[in-house]
Symmetry: C2
Subunit: 352 residues, 2 copies
């Protein structure tokens, strides 16, 4: 069956401030390598589908930016939500648009702003997931955990389906540290990376069963003429339940499969996460742009400005220079720059 990637690119975080902004969220940043996270996500899927086949679910204000990043992708594939309402409405809209355009297909839903170090096992896992989705299973990729992370949701695996896939026993919320340690030790729990593979048929069947109101709205979109589509979408969108696909469908659904994968996945959560995913020098620094460092250790120096950044005698520090802001932060505090961004919103709103 045809496979249609749906890249979820509607996020709007501040964790990479000052590089990320309200009008320049993480999926558009070139944090690792020379491509934006969005572009890298689409290119990674090349063995499965060309960029021209991808659909992008994003916000209205990011639609043009998505097009610019992905010139091979038709503008009709850039699906702009009228307003952010979490992933269930976003994926429902994408599934509807795709069903209108293509009829039956396998949806390959994945976030635009994650990093995957090893493409081969990732693609192999997706291909496995596609074969299961063709049998009307909803399939999720489960990232084999490498640390007792408390910042991710987990998926508990159940009975084996075959050598490379299991049933899903349960979706579980972000655990506390102790619980995360037991998850890690058990070998039965996997990180939920928000990657789902399923047929349009199965998706709408599940939507009808778990979210009948959302399903009813989606049928209006499906039945709309091309001329009326935008207006009907705008009128009905506020009535969509603003929930996640995890909570709205997956946690309630049955017949879910998980394909475990070890592929060097990262959600690239904050500036201090970058060195582990990037080339670093002998002093443990990730240096990007024009940087001259001396006696500088275990730091991120990300220079996207017109100036030279020079460092001397510092360690465990994050320096980010853009065209209008210079951030200097300790590693610890950089994991949540939100408090600083809130202060900036008050003092220099245009920079937040």
């Amino acid at each position: 069956m045809k496979v249609t990637p749906v890249v979820i690119a509607g996020g709007s975080g501040t964790r990479f401030w000052p590089l990320s902004r309200q009008n320049n969220p993480k999926q558009f940043l070139k944090l690792l390598g020379s491509d934006s996270m969005l572009r890298a996500t689409v290119e990674r899927l090349l063995p499965i589908a060309p960029p021209a086949d991808c659909y992008i679910a994003t916000g209205e204000k990011y639609a043009e930016r998505c097009s610019a990043e992905l010139p091979e992708t038709a503008k009709s594939h850039i699906i702009a939500e009228p307003s952010p309402r979490n992933t269930l409405p976003a994926i429902t809209l994408a599934a509807t648009v795709i069903k209108r355009a293509l009829g039956e297909t396998i949806l390959l839903v994945l976030p635009a702003d994650h990093y995957i170090a090893r493409t081969a096992p990732f693609i192999a896992a997706l291909k496995k997931a596609i074969t299961l989705a063709e049998k009307e299973l909803i399939v999720t990729l489960g990232i084999t955990p490498t640390a007792p992370e408390t910042g991710f949701g987990y998926i508990k695996s159940g009975d084996k389906l075959d050598e490379t896939a299991c049933k899903v026993a349960a979706f579980v919320e972000k655990p506390d540290y102790r619980t995360a340690e037991t998850y890690l030790a058990s070998g039965e729990y996997f990180w939920n990376a928000g990657i789902f593979v399923m047929s349009t048929t199965r998706f709408f069947k599940e939507l009808a069963a778990r979210q009948p109101e959302a399903f009813a709205l989606s049928q209006k979109w499906l039945d709309a003429t091309q001329e009326d589509f935008s207006q009907i979408l705008a009128d009905t969108w506020p009535a969509m339940p603003a929930t996640s696909i995890d909570y709205g469908i997956m946690e309630k659904a049955e017949n879910l499969a998980i394909v475990p994968v070890e592929c060097g996945w990262s959600d690239v959560g904050s500036w201090p996460a970058l060195p582990a995913l990037s080339q670093i020098n002998d002093a443990g620094n990730m240096e990007r742009g024009r940087v001259i460092s001396l006696n500088t250790q275990n730091s991120v120096i990300f220079n996207d400005s017109d100036k030279v950044v020079a460092t001397l005698g510092v360690k465990d520090i994050i320096i980010v220079a853009t065209s209008d802001v210079i951030l200097v932060s300790s590693k610890g505090d950089a994991q949540d720059v939100k408090a600083l961004v809130d202060l900036v919103k008050n003092r220099e709103p245009s920079l937040a």
Copy 2:
């Protein structure tokens, strides 16, 4: 007798890099307040002499810059040394130019790049020094030490001349820490701030006795016609002994007086010295320019750039942003940025 300030403004250090550069040394920087160090030095002397009466001893490449800083001072008062040869040649040249223009006067020699917190006692000490210089003494101001500094030369005071002045017993080199502690405890030692007050007559008498070669050259300058002056200066300058006035004259001279003074003097030696001389906020930070700081302590954030500097969770750090460089340094290393500047010279010569 007429008093003629001679401000020594030929320095070319890198201790305030990246704000200071080869073409923008410390005397031209606005490190403290809205005036350059040079301008502040001249304005501080107002109770003794107007800016129009001041002479500036500087290098050829800084002459225009000095004029721009001091529009009230005639261009003929900006004395450009053909090349840097330390303070003895610089002061000899200035004394010669001044003698040619004014005849006998009291020279008030002082550096362009020091800070004085309390002008009143400083001016009172200078006035006292002038009265002693009128009696053909060479007089130096002695800064009452406040710490066992090892970075300064000291002057040992001798017998009292009167209530506010002593004879100089000896000039002494930079001491080690233990010695500096005994100097501080004794009450007999003062910091040598390079401030000298003396008549032109006494200066040339001393020069003839201690540096006969330099004296002989100075007489050629004195006797030169206005038309020949520049050429004779250029021809003879390389033969001038490249030594300091301290070593070349003061350490060898007799009949020297010292006027002790407590005036909040500082040589403003490096970035970490600034907070003690400047307004700081409750967190102990000196912040200049557009700065937004959160959880930031005991730091210098000197923003002379077009960007906002935002800091988060750092302490004891120096951040300096200019139009082309962003420096981030620990306080300890910032006291000597020379090693970093040397690296910059190799990598980005235009920024050193």
